[in-house]
Symmetry: C2
Subunit: 129 residues, 2 copies
Amino acid sequence: MNIGEVSERSGLPPKTIRYYEDINLVRPLRSDNGYRSFRESDIHKLAFLGRARALGFSIEDCRTLMDLYEDETRESAQVKAVAKEHLAEIDNKIAQLKSMRETLSHLVEACQGDHRPDCPILKDLSRGV
Amino acid sequence: MNIGEVSERSGLPPKTIRYYEDINLVRPLRSDNGYRSFRESDIHKLAFLGRARALGFSIEDCRTLMDLYEDETRESAQVKAVAKEHLAEIDNKIAQLKSMRETLSHLVEACQGDHRPDCPILKDLSRGV
DNA sequence: ATAGGGCTTCCAGCAACTGGAAGCTCAAGG
DNA sequence: CCTTGAGCTTCCAGTTGCTGGAAGCCCTAT
Protein backbone atom coordinates (compact mmCIF):
# COMPACT_ATOMS: atom_id res chain seq x y z
CA MET A 1 0.00 0.00 0.00
CA ASN A 2 1.32 3.42 -0.91
CA ILE A 3 1.72 6.31 1.43
CA GLY A 4 -1.34 8.22 0.24
CA GLU A 5 -3.76 5.49 1.15
CA VAL A 6 -1.94 4.85 4.41
CA SER A 7 -2.26 8.52 5.19
CA GLU A 8 -6.02 8.36 4.76
CA ARG A 9 -6.43 5.18 6.71
CA SER A 10 -4.18 6.20 9.59
CA GLY A 11 -5.22 9.82 9.68
CA LEU A 12 -1.61 10.97 9.59
CA PRO A 13 -0.24 13.28 6.89
CA PRO A 14 2.25 11.70 4.47
CA LYS A 15 4.95 14.06 5.72
CA THR A 16 4.43 12.81 9.24
CA ILE A 17 4.56 9.19 8.15
CA ARG A 18 7.84 9.79 6.33
CA TYR A 19 9.14 11.53 9.40
CA TYR A 20 8.15 8.58 11.55
CA GLU A 21 10.08 6.35 9.23
CA ASP A 22 13.08 8.68 9.45
CA ILE A 23 13.15 8.29 13.20
CA ASN A 24 12.50 4.56 12.97
CA LEU A 25 9.04 4.45 14.45
CA VAL A 26 7.86 2.49 11.42
CA ARG A 27 9.83 0.53 8.86
CA PRO A 28 7.76 0.09 5.72
CA LEU A 29 9.09 -2.08 2.92
CA ARG A 30 10.02 -0.66 -0.47
CA SER A 31 8.56 -1.53 -3.84
CA ASP A 32 10.75 -1.96 -6.90
CA ASN A 33 9.97 1.58 -7.98
CA GLY A 34 11.30 2.96 -4.72
CA TYR A 35 7.88 3.70 -3.27
CA ARG A 36 7.23 2.85 0.36
CA SER A 37 5.12 -0.26 0.69
CA PHE A 38 3.12 -0.47 3.90
CA ARG A 39 1.73 -3.62 5.46
CA GLU A 40 -1.38 -3.76 7.59
CA SER A 41 0.85 -3.96 10.63
CA ASP A 42 2.44 -0.65 9.66
CA ILE A 43 -0.94 1.01 9.47
CA HIS A 44 -1.81 -0.45 12.82
CA LYS A 45 1.37 0.98 14.26
CA LEU A 46 0.76 4.37 12.74
CA ALA A 47 -2.75 4.53 14.12
CA PHE A 48 -1.37 3.54 17.51
CA LEU A 49 1.15 6.36 17.28
CA GLY A 50 -1.51 8.81 16.20
CA ARG A 51 -3.63 8.02 19.22
CA ALA A 52 -0.70 8.17 21.61
CA ARG A 53 0.30 11.54 20.17
CA ALA A 54 -3.30 12.71 20.50
CA LEU A 55 -3.04 11.93 24.20
CA GLY A 56 -0.02 14.20 24.28
CA PHE A 57 2.68 11.57 24.68
CA SER A 58 6.06 12.68 23.41
CA ILE A 59 7.61 10.87 20.49
CA GLU A 60 10.01 9.15 22.86
CA ASP A 61 7.13 8.06 25.06
CA CYS A 62 5.41 6.77 21.96
CA ARG A 63 8.49 4.77 21.09
CA THR A 64 8.53 3.31 24.58
CA LEU A 65 4.83 2.50 24.45
CA MET A 66 5.20 0.85 21.05
CA ASP A 67 8.09 -1.21 22.34
CA LEU A 68 6.05 -2.28 25.34
CA TYR A 69 3.10 -3.04 23.11
CA GLU A 70 5.21 -5.38 21.04
CA ASP A 71 6.91 -6.94 24.01
CA GLU A 72 4.85 -9.90 25.16
CA THR A 73 6.80 -10.05 28.40
CA ARG A 74 6.00 -6.47 29.41
CA GLU A 75 4.53 -5.74 32.80
CA SER A 76 1.55 -3.42 32.84
CA ALA A 77 3.31 -1.54 35.64
CA GLN A 78 5.80 -0.29 33.05
CA VAL A 79 3.06 1.11 30.87
CA LYS A 80 1.28 2.60 33.83
CA ALA A 81 4.45 4.31 34.99
CA VAL A 82 4.90 6.04 31.65
CA ALA A 83 1.27 7.09 31.58
CA LYS A 84 1.28 8.34 35.14
CA GLU A 85 4.33 10.45 34.54
CA HIS A 86 2.75 11.95 31.48
CA LEU A 87 -0.42 12.58 33.43
CA ALA A 88 1.58 14.46 36.01
CA GLU A 89 3.10 16.61 33.27
CA ILE A 90 -0.33 17.36 31.91
CA ASP A 91 -1.46 18.38 35.36
CA ASN A 92 1.51 20.68 35.67
CA LYS A 93 0.76 22.30 32.36
CA ILE A 94 -2.88 22.74 33.24
CA ALA A 95 -1.95 24.33 36.56
CA GLN A 96 0.47 26.67 34.86
CA LEU A 97 -2.05 27.69 32.23
CA LYS A 98 -4.73 28.20 34.82
CA SER A 99 -2.47 30.49 36.76
CA MET A 100 -1.73 32.50 33.63
CA ARG A 101 -5.40 32.55 32.82
CA GLU A 102 -6.19 33.80 36.28
CA THR A 103 -3.82 36.73 36.11
CA LEU A 104 -4.58 37.57 32.53
CA SER A 105 -8.34 37.49 32.85
CA HIS A 106 -8.21 39.92 35.77
CA LEU A 107 -6.09 42.26 33.73
CA VAL A 108 -8.33 42.00 30.71
CA GLU A 109 -11.38 42.73 32.81
CA ALA A 110 -9.69 45.72 34.36
CA CYS A 111 -8.86 47.22 30.98
CA GLN A 112 -11.39 49.63 29.58
CA GLY A 113 -10.48 48.79 26.02
CA ASP A 114 -11.32 52.23 24.71
CA HIS A 115 -9.51 54.93 22.77
CA ARG A 116 -7.50 56.16 25.73
CA PRO A 117 -3.93 55.03 26.33
CA ASP A 118 -4.28 54.13 30.02
CA CYS A 119 -4.10 50.39 30.39
CA PRO A 120 -3.83 48.21 33.50
CA ILE A 121 -2.36 45.41 31.41
CA LEU A 122 0.65 47.47 30.35
CA LYS A 123 0.82 48.93 33.82
CA ASP A 124 1.13 45.49 35.32
CA LEU A 125 3.72 44.32 32.80
CA SER A 126 5.84 47.37 33.45
CA ARG A 127 5.50 47.36 37.22
CA GLY A 128 8.59 48.22 39.29
CA VAL A 129 11.90 46.84 38.12
CA MET B 1 25.91 47.60 33.23
CA ASN B 2 27.14 44.23 32.00
CA ILE B 3 24.98 41.32 31.02
CA GLY B 4 25.60 39.33 34.19
CA GLU B 5 24.16 41.94 36.47
CA VAL B 6 21.32 42.60 34.07
CA SER B 7 20.57 38.91 34.11
CA GLU B 8 20.27 38.92 37.88
CA ARG B 9 18.21 42.06 37.99
CA SER B 10 15.85 41.10 35.20
CA GLY B 11 15.64 37.42 36.08
CA LEU B 12 16.45 36.43 32.49
CA PRO B 13 19.41 34.20 31.59
CA PRO B 14 22.22 35.93 29.69
CA LYS B 15 21.59 33.66 26.71
CA THR B 16 18.02 34.83 26.57
CA ILE B 17 19.04 38.47 26.80
CA ARG B 18 21.47 38.03 23.92
CA TYR B 19 18.77 36.31 21.97
CA TYR B 20 16.39 39.19 22.63
CA GLU B 21 19.00 41.52 21.27
CA ASP B 22 19.41 39.31 18.20
CA ILE B 23 15.75 39.66 17.42
CA ASN B 24 15.76 43.35 18.24
CA LEU B 25 13.63 43.30 21.35
CA VAL B 26 16.32 45.26 23.18
CA ARG B 27 19.16 47.34 21.81
CA PRO B 28 21.84 47.73 24.48
CA LEU B 29 24.81 49.98 23.82
CA ARG B 30 28.33 48.66 23.51
CA SER B 31 31.34 49.52 25.64
CA ASP B 32 34.75 50.04 24.09
CA ASN B 33 35.72 46.50 24.98
CA GLY B 34 32.81 45.14 22.97
CA TYR B 35 30.74 44.24 26.01
CA ARG B 36 27.05 45.02 25.95
CA SER B 37 26.24 48.04 28.07
CA PHE B 38 22.70 48.12 29.41
CA ARG B 39 20.84 51.19 30.57
CA GLU B 40 18.14 51.19 33.22
CA SER B 41 15.58 51.43 30.46
CA ASP B 42 16.92 48.20 28.97
CA ILE B 43 16.48 46.41 32.25
CA HIS B 44 13.00 47.80 32.49
CA LYS B 45 12.24 46.46 29.04
CA LEU B 46 13.69 43.07 29.81
CA ALA B 47 11.66 42.76 32.98
CA PHE B 48 8.59 43.74 30.99
CA LEU B 49 9.37 41.05 28.47
CA GLY B 50 9.98 38.51 31.19
CA ARG B 51 6.58 39.18 32.71
CA ALA B 52 4.82 39.09 29.37
CA ARG B 53 6.50 35.79 28.55
CA ALA B 54 5.52 34.47 31.98
CA LEU B 55 1.93 35.18 31.03
CA GLY B 56 2.49 33.03 27.97
CA PHE B 57 2.54 35.76 25.33
CA SER B 58 4.48 34.82 22.24
CA ILE B 59 7.59 36.75 21.34
CA GLU B 60 5.68 38.51 18.59
CA ASP B 61 2.93 39.45 21.03
CA CYS B 62 5.62 40.71 23.37
CA ARG B 63 7.00 42.86 20.60
CA THR B 64 3.56 44.26 19.92
CA LEU B 65 2.95 44.91 23.61
CA MET B 66 6.32 46.63 23.97
CA ASP B 67 5.55 48.79 20.95
CA LEU B 68 2.19 49.73 22.42
CA TYR B 69 3.79 50.41 25.76
CA GLU B 70 6.17 52.86 24.17
CA ASP B 71 3.53 54.43 22.00
CA GLU B 72 1.94 57.30 23.90
CA THR B 73 -0.87 57.48 21.38
CA ARG B 74 -1.93 53.86 21.84
CA GLU B 75 -5.52 53.01 22.59
CA SER B 76 -6.07 50.57 25.43
CA ALA B 77 -8.42 48.69 23.10
CA GLN B 78 -5.37 47.58 21.10
CA VAL B 79 -3.74 46.12 24.16
CA LYS B 80 -6.93 44.51 25.30
CA ALA B 81 -7.42 42.88 21.90
CA VAL B 82 -4.01 41.24 22.04
CA ALA B 83 -4.62 40.06 25.58
CA LYS B 84 -8.07 38.71 24.83
CA GLU B 85 -6.85 36.75 21.89
CA HIS B 86 -4.11 35.25 23.98
CA LEU B 87 -6.60 34.46 26.71
CA ALA B 88 -8.69 32.58 24.19
CA GLU B 89 -5.66 30.56 23.14
CA ILE B 90 -4.95 29.72 26.75
CA ASP B 91 -8.52 28.57 27.16
CA ASN B 92 -8.17 26.36 24.12
CA LYS B 93 -5.02 24.79 25.44
CA ILE B 94 -6.57 24.20 28.82
CA ALA B 95 -9.58 22.56 27.23
CA GLN B 96 -7.37 20.33 25.11
CA LEU B 97 -5.23 19.31 28.05
CA LYS B 98 -8.27 18.63 30.18
CA SER B 99 -9.67 16.36 27.53
CA MET B 100 -6.37 14.46 27.36
CA ARG B 101 -6.27 14.33 31.12
CA GLU B 102 -9.78 12.95 31.21
CA THR B 103 -9.05 10.09 28.85
CA LEU B 104 -5.65 9.34 30.25
CA SER B 105 -6.68 9.31 33.88
CA HIS B 106 -9.42 6.81 33.15
CA LEU B 107 -6.93 4.57 31.41
CA VAL B 108 -4.40 4.88 34.20
CA GLU B 109 -7.02 4.00 36.77
CA ALA B 110 -8.10 1.01 34.76
CA CYS B 111 -4.58 -0.35 34.54
CA GLN B 112 -3.61 -2.78 37.26
CA GLY B 113 0.02 -1.78 37.09
CA ASP B 114 1.29 -5.20 38.10
CA HIS B 115 3.66 -7.79 36.65
CA ARG B 116 1.19 -9.06 34.08
CA PRO B 117 1.25 -7.86 30.47
CA ASP B 118 -2.46 -7.10 30.12
CA CYS B 119 -2.95 -3.39 29.95
CA PRO B 120 -6.03 -1.30 29.13
CA ILE B 121 -3.81 1.59 28.13
CA LEU B 122 -2.13 -0.33 25.36
CA LYS B 123 -5.43 -1.92 24.49
CA ASP B 124 -6.96 1.47 23.96
CA LEU B 125 -4.07 2.81 21.93
CA SER B 126 -4.18 -0.21 19.67
CA ARG B 127 -7.93 -0.34 19.28
CA GLY B 128 -9.38 -1.18 15.85
CA VAL B 129 -7.56 0.22 12.84
C1' DA C 1 3.82 12.46 -26.49
C1' DT C 2 2.28 14.82 -22.87
C1' DA C 3 -0.11 16.12 -18.88
C1' DG C 4 -1.36 15.20 -14.26
C1' DG C 5 -0.94 13.32 -9.96
C1' DG C 6 1.63 10.68 -6.72
C1' DC C 7 5.82 9.42 -5.18
C1' DT C 8 10.93 10.26 -3.95
C1' DT C 9 14.82 12.96 -1.52
C1' DC C 10 16.82 16.82 0.62
C1' DC C 11 17.04 21.32 2.64
C1' DA C 12 15.03 25.01 5.35
C1' DG C 13 12.19 26.84 8.75
C1' DC C 14 9.00 27.25 12.70
C1' DA C 15 9.39 28.90 18.56
C1' DA C 16 12.20 30.24 21.88
C1' DC C 17 15.69 29.32 23.50
C1' DT C 18 20.01 26.39 25.31
C1' DG C 19 24.62 24.23 25.16
C1' DG C 20 29.15 24.32 23.82
C1' DA C 21 33.47 25.75 21.57
C1' DA C 22 36.96 29.14 20.66
C1' DG C 23 38.68 33.20 21.97
C1' DC C 24 38.99 38.13 23.98
C1' DT C 25 38.94 41.15 28.47
C1' DC C 26 39.55 42.27 32.99
C1' DA C 27 40.71 42.17 37.95
C1' DA C 28 43.32 39.97 41.51
C1' DG C 29 47.20 37.33 43.43
C1' DG C 30 52.05 35.75 43.57
C1' DC D 1 54.93 40.97 35.02
C1' DC D 2 52.57 36.82 34.50
C1' DT D 3 49.10 33.82 35.31
C1' DT D 4 44.67 32.33 36.57
C1' DG D 5 39.90 32.40 36.45
C1' DA D 6 35.66 34.61 35.80
C1' DG D 7 33.02 37.01 32.61
C1' DC D 8 32.27 38.50 28.21
C1' DT D 9 32.17 37.86 22.94
C1' DT D 10 30.58 35.29 18.53
C1' DC D 11 29.00 31.48 16.02
C1' DC D 12 27.16 26.94 15.24
C1' DA D 13 24.30 23.17 16.49
C1' DG D 14 20.57 21.02 18.80
C1' DT D 15 16.04 20.81 20.95
C1' DT D 16 10.43 19.04 19.48
C1' DG D 17 7.58 17.47 15.92
C1' DC D 18 6.69 18.31 12.26
C1' DT D 19 5.69 21.29 7.67
C1' DG D 20 6.69 23.60 3.20
C1' DG D 21 8.95 23.69 -0.93
C1' DA D 22 12.06 22.48 -4.75
C1' DA D 23 13.74 19.22 -8.06
C1' DG D 24 12.93 15.17 -10.11
C1' DC D 25 11.30 10.19 -10.92
C1' DC D 26 7.07 7.04 -11.79
C1' DC D 27 2.74 5.76 -13.54
C1' DT D 28 -1.61 6.15 -15.89
C1' DA D 29 -4.68 8.20 -19.11
C1' DT D 30 -5.54 10.66 -23.16
